[in-house]
Symmetry: C2
Subunit: 394 residues, 2 copies
């Protein structure tokens, strides 16, 4: 199966690309490499050094004997995207190519607009390119569990059967996105659903939880295949960030009371979920949504887990509550459903102390690369003064 | 009350601007005049000639003794918009400044993207400009009833109380937009709701039905104040288009079976609804939605109404069913609620035979300006061959 992986240089995209290649998919990565540019712009860097894309795919070829092609293409350029789709004649497109940080999107107007343009224009382009050049190809798009917000009812997988005044219908699940980043994902979902209804595209929307870990079977094969390990306040997801803090003896920074609860999954499950979606494609005209996570945790609960593992390794570890920089409910109901991917065969990787210990050890080994100034949140949803999200510029 | 009317050169925007001015509001029109450019680009023209913006506001000053200021500004330019908001220090912004045609947005990728950028970037910019420069100003944004699609339940005003598995919540009403244009309006609504939650902006989202008529008390005061009368397949709304067809002896072109049902209102009610929203502003942080329409009609029912009036005036009038160029349900439940504006004092103008007769007479008086080639639909939602929505170019 020929698969284009848009955004294949990113955190989830790279791990997925080599996993799919390893499993026999014919993979072409399409990426503008802009994620590396955002790191430079904001003075950030992955804790584990990552190789250049050229080096990555050469090394992958060397260790696996398999070839991944690479197109350095910005999919917000429609003509360029169409060339890639026509030439590649893919059976499926996996679309990760988005600015994925909520804080990045809330820094200021320019970052909100850049996120909006990068994400929604790319998505619109991908849909039109499929419609015009590969109408039977299966679109697998990464959404986020954050699209749903925290409603006071169970979160179903994309749709909700509503009874209202004696009538009933199955309708798109109501969304309450919590940042300009999340807004782009909701807009994408609406666009995809429309394209499926109108053009009979087959599409799977993977509403993914917060991903943790960095390693998969494939990334472990060589240092040049290593994945990103972001710990900064912009791109660092919460569990990875806690593990770096624990390794460095920095207090674990919990935003607000820490009772806000989210969906999580190990990156090893991310790559498997995408594989499952590709192996069991949507039908022509079908828009289906899978909630892609394995467990839910309150943020404070995760901090306690990490602190426990850290102390077990002889590290002093404190938990510090910071004023919540986000506008979000801290006390809320949260019960999302995730049966679709399980039904296709996903065997969840539960968060283990070993995984946490591995992330802490990885951070300890790279301790000299940590810049502690990058950890405290600097982007506020309602700033009293203008945000300074770009420490390199400050 | 100082009001910026973004898009004040358009069909609803112009009528609203002079109505608000007449009612004592201090009006500044902010418009890039791009709507006139789209007419030229597609070889279209309002059946009733419209004066230049300069002539319009000079004439308004002459007949009313009131001043409307004009800023020729494209609100997709954030710096320019911020200057206007800072200098204008508005109490409210009425935002009409959008590409409003579903067929335009479905012509091809370029028109879909242009619609997306024009509408969603403008909306994002307006929200940020309010947040940064006028956080207490009331945003009155034009949405559309088309955001909801045709669910099998009653359409409430923006929110739906959901009971699900023994729990309950009031959630955003699920949306099923039917074109790239409608998708932009849904994205706008989500952005505005987020901005209200996060930045405590006060906002009113007017989900407007299909507008008919051209005249208001104010446009009638002078030919130089006349409003647009679009009858073409791109910008002509259905009732106005039927009246032109009846006047010219052209069959009334019903798309598909004609049982598809929509919400409608007279443009005289549009201007009154905006006035009511301004007079009764949203509270700080409140995102409220008013369904802005007065009646619902099936398209075939409207055709029969127009044919009846035309025949009463001695015109031969046939009804012709064309293959539906859109992807939409033709048989569906449709029962939207519209109590919010009524509660504020709206007295609905029902569609009368006199209104239909007036529109037919207006078209008869301008019959030599009609280009019949502009009437049949050329934009298909699922084209077998590429759309040719731009007759001037073809």
């Amino acid at each position: 199966m020929k698969v284009l992986v848009i955004g294949g240089d990113g955190y989830c995209g790279w791990a997925t690309s080599i996993h799919l290649s390893n499993r026999g998919f014919d993979v072409t990565i399409v990426d503008s490499l802009v994620r590396r540019e955002w790191d430079r712009e904001h003075g950030l860097a992955s804790l584990v050094p990552i190789a250049s894309m050229r080096r990555r795919i050469d090394e992958w070829s060397r260790v696996s004997g398999r070839t991944i092609r690479f197109c350095e293409t910005d999919v917000t350029d429609y003509a360029a995207l169409c060339r890639v789709v026509r030439d590649g004649a893919p059976d499926a497109i996996v679309h990760f190519g988005q600015q994925r940080s909520a804080p990045f999107s809330m820094i200021d107007h320019e970052h909100a607009l850049r996120t909006h343009l990068n994400n929604t224009v790319a998505n619109l382009n991908v849909l039109w390119a499929l419609h015009e050049h590969a109408p039977d190809a299966h679109l697998v798009k990464l959404g986020t569990m954050g699209e749903y917000g925290t409603p006071n009812i169970d979160i179903e997988e994309g749709f909700l059967t509503v009874e209202h005044k004696g009538r009933t219908d199955s309708l798109p699940f109501p969304k309450q996105p919590g940042s300009f980043y999340h807004l782009t994902k909701v807009s994408d979902s609406d666009q995809i659903a429309f394209a499926c209804r109108t053009w009979s595209l087959p599409a799977t929307d993977l509403n993914q939880g917060v991903v943790y870990g960095t390693a998969t079977n494939e990334t472990e094969l060589s240092p040049a295949l290593a994945n990103r390990y972001d710990y900064d306040h912009i791109f660092g997801t919460v569990l990875n960030r806690f593990c770096v803090q624990a390794a460095l003896g920095h207090p674990l920074t919990v935003y607000g009371g820490g009772t806000q609860t989210r969906s999580f999954l190990d990156i090893r499950d991310t790559v498997r979920c995408v594989e499952l979606a590709l192996e069991h494609p949507a039908r022509s005209g079908e828009y289906r949504v899978f909630n892609q996570f394995t467990e839910t945790f309150a943020v404070g609960e995760l901090a306690a887990r990490v602190a426990g593992v850290a102390r077990g390794r002889g590290l002093a570890c404190e938990i510090m509550h910071l004023a919540n920089p986000r506008t979000e409910r801290e006390s809320h109901y949260y019960n999302p459903v995730n049966t679709n991917l399980r039904a296709l065969g996903l065997e969840p990787t539960r968060l283990s102390d070993a995984t946490i210990a591995g992330l802490i050890a990885l951070a300890q080994a790279r301790a000299t690369r940590v810049d502690l100034r990058l950890i405290p949140p600097r982007v506020e949803w309602r700033p009293a003064e203008p945000n300074e999200g770009a420490p390199a510029v400050a």
